[in-house]
Every structure is written in C-alpha cells, then in structure tokens.
Symmetry: D2
Subunit: 143 residues, 4 copies
DNA sequence: TTTT
DNA sequence: TTTT
C-alpha cells in the first residue's frame, strides 16, 4: 500500500505563533503562513495553518513573529469534525517536522534551522510518538 | 519576498476522476486522494482533493480510476468563498503539475509519468497560463 | 545561514542491497538506483548511489533486491578523498531517511513504508546520531 | 515503470555564476552551491554543482554572485565519461528548474522567484526541449 | 575549486 | 483571520 506525504512551503507568518499544551503537557505551536503565488498577476496568496510539536514548536514560538519569513517542511494533515449545526466539516493543514528560519538581514540574524527529531527535551507527561497526538489530547478543541 | 510551494503525495484515488471544462474549454480533472498515515496504530487516513489541468488532467481521466495508486507532485492551493448562510468558508487542495502512475502488476502495466508542462495540445479557446485560471473561468462553481 | 537539503527519487535497484557494519556495529545498507528520465527520447537513465542506516538499512537489505522499484526520500551527500594517484576525487550520493516500497502486484505485495526515525533497535555499540557517522567509522573505505 | 526525480536544496553560491551558450545559442548557467550540514558538530558542508538553462540561467547570472543564498528546486542528473587515462568517470549534479532568491536584507532586496517554464524569450537558434539538451550541444565540454 |  |  503506497503512502507518501511531503510538503515544503516558504512564506511569511500571518500572525504571532501561539504556543499551547496538550493535556499531557506536550507543547504545540500554531501559526498561519502566507505564501504569495508566483507569476500571478493578481497578487494572489495561499494561506495555510501550520502546527509544530515539542521542541520545534517551542523554538518557533520563541523566535518568530508575525511577518517573519520561514521555510516549513512537513506533512499534510486532514481532519474532519461535525459542526454545531450538524454539518460535516473538514480541514487540511500542515504539520511541520522541520523549519528553516529565513530572512536574516545581511549575514546576521534570521538564519538557522530547527529540526523536529533532534532529541530535544520531553515534557514529563509527553507521549513518545507525534503521529498519535491529536485533538483528543487537548483539553478543548485546538483548531 | 520569499515564496515556495511544493507538495508530493502518494496514495489511492477515492473516486473515479471527473473531467470538466472551463467556459473557455480548458480541461480540468478532479479526484480525491487517500493517503494512509504511516506508523499510525489507528489506521488513520488523510484525504485530499486534487485537480489537474489540460493534458495532464485528460491523461489522468483517461487512465486512472477509483482505487488506483498514484504519486502527485504539485502545489497547495487555498480558496475561500462565502457559504449560502453568509459564513466565510475556505479550503486547501492540491493542484497537480506532474503525476506518476504507480501500481503496475509485475513489471508491466501501471507505471508511466505524465508531466504538466510537456507542451500538449491547447484547447482552441484555452488560456495560456494556468496560474490565472480559477473559478471565474467556470460556468458554475467547480468545487 | 540558510540550509536545506531534500531529495525524493523513485526508480529501480541496480543491484542487490549490500549490508555492512561500521566499526561500532552500526548497520549501513548500500544500493544503486536507476531513475529513467521522463520525456527523454533517447532512453536516458540517471544512476545514483544510496545508503541507508540502522533499521531502515536492515529493512531494505531484508526485503529488496535488484530490479525492485522503490521511492527514496533523503538528503544529498558530498564526499571527497584523494585517489591513489594523488588526485582529488569527489562524489555525490543520497542518504535515505525514509523509503517507500513500490511495485506491489495487484493490491498485494510490495507496498509498505519504512521510516528512519522510528526508534528501531540500536546496535549495542552504535552511535546515537547519524549525522556524525561517516567513513571514519568504517574499518575500510566503504564507497 | 516508476520514475521520479526531485531535489530541493538551499545554500550559498561558492563562486560567481558562469553563463555559457550551447552551439545552438542556448544559455546555460553554472554555479557551485554550499549547503551546510545541520546538526553536525564538525561544521561539515555539502558541495554541489548546479546548472540552469535559458531564461532561468540568465536571471541567476544577472542577479546572483558568490556567497549569495539561494533555494534551488530541480532534478538530479547523472553523467559519465571516459577520462584521459581511459578510466570511467561519473558525476552527479543538479539541474535547476526553479530557484528562489533568499537573503534579502530587511524587507528589501533579495527575494524573488524565477521559474524555468515561464515562457521567457527563446534564443533564435535554441532548441525547444531542455530534456534533450546535453553536452553534445556544446562546442566543448562544459563540465 | 569551495559558501555563511 | 491574514504575510511581504
């Protein structure tokens, strides 16, 4: 059964990153990303929601803010739920497992990569495997 | 201004591809893609909508059907609209610019790649530049 | 300082995978990959050398053989050395961190993904961090 | 027959880009790219050779210089030849089909994307299809 | 042959 | 809900 899922996007944060924690204490960072469409005469933009877990999420929350350019490598995630009116809703967003800070002025600030699997500290109550972390781990709906 | 947008996913068609035409006669093929989450104990699946334009779309419509495995390279596309009840809605899907047919039995059938930029015939009324093609080109809402 | 390195290639093994071990007992699997050039009239082929470490390498060595189709996600690696005649030589190859087995006949055999970071057992004498593993860990030159 | 070949790398030019022309007058730009290995304690670097054809190559030659940061999307290319001493030699490099200029200081300079398939002017004697362009088109060996 |  |  074939299965592959890889996304690489670069753009600018549409808002300051928000850091939250699952019930088990695992950090997750959320932010919006604006990616301008290239060779589009009408200035179109694609907007995506991105989440980053654990140390990667903490790094982004600590160093990035609205407007900053960033490159995100990750996977596409589909989620569905039932709306208040009973209708079916769904959403596709990006789960980062690697980011690259862009936009350093001159040679200085800005650059630097932050990988998701580079060990990093584990929150005491944290689960070991990202792929099983989802909305059930949150006290309330996180998206 | 930094800008990059690349997606590579492989999975199986969730339905037969549907081929439609813009008002200007440009073919566009739509299909659903199911990508099984790897290393997920609970058999999770991500579902995406994919569209493919012009000759690439025609090739997919001609050769692929529900259940077939496929690899899609493309870009993520964001679209927003106002729902009937006046609420704001949005959607992220994939625009293919290259696909690879997978799943040949033995060494034989199945394989074969179809690129989007390989010339291909142009519908007489077609526009030249994909990036400007959008819902306005359709007689009615296509998604 | 910007830094990004990602490769995704699919093709067929040009030889049976070879499994070796570093001095510290870390498994490393090597194989050749043939990727046919698409839309090339003259049947051109690109040939690459690929290595896969630890459990990922063992899985490939156990399940794949010459001719099998495979998708490899990894990074490009540059290495240089001095030839016997004193001249400078260098080589670019691929280090896999994820593979997808392709080519199942029908729906059955073949498929299945093997990630590099999925824990996996550690050889007792193994080092913890791939990025520091290199030719010095080998008893003799492995490439 | 499965076939896929995609590379995305970001780093700094190791030398000024060099613009040459095939016998048929098609521009081709060559440059070196240094990609620093992330999470490597010993400051390792991967060095790659990149070529870019036609308008994309001209744009790089016109705007980029040694040291500049750049993101390159393309494909891996294998080439082999016989050395003067009769021995077999080969090389793997990158053919760009899209680049993203990085490293704007502040919000200003630097950014901007240059795609390979965006029409662009054709040199009068140029051939239409990159995939058939190769060393035979050159007056002398270009690599 | 090498960049920050 | 939106960035440069």
């Amino acid at each position: 059964m074939v299965s592959f899922n890889r996304v690489i996007v670069a753009g600018n944060l549409t808002r300051d990153p928000e850091l939250r924690f699952t019930g088990g204490g695992v950090p997750v960072c959320s932010f919006g990303l604006a990616v301008n469409r290239v060779r589009s005469k009408n200035e179109e933009v694609d907007f995506f929601d991105v989440s980053a877990w654990r140390e990667l999420g903490e790094t982004i929350a600590n160093y990035k803010k609205k407007g900053d350019p960033i490159l995100v490598e990750g996977r596409l995630q589909y989620r569905s739920w039932e709306a208040q009116d009973g209708s079916k809703r769904s959403k596709v967003d990006i789960v980062a497992d690697n980011v690259q800070f862009l936009g350093g002025r001159g040679d200085g600030e800005g650059g630097g990569q932050s990988g998701g699997q580079s060990g990093g500290r584990r929150q005491s109550g944290g689960r070991r495997d990202d792929v099983d972390l989802n909305e059930e781990d949150f006290d309330d709906i996180p998206f």
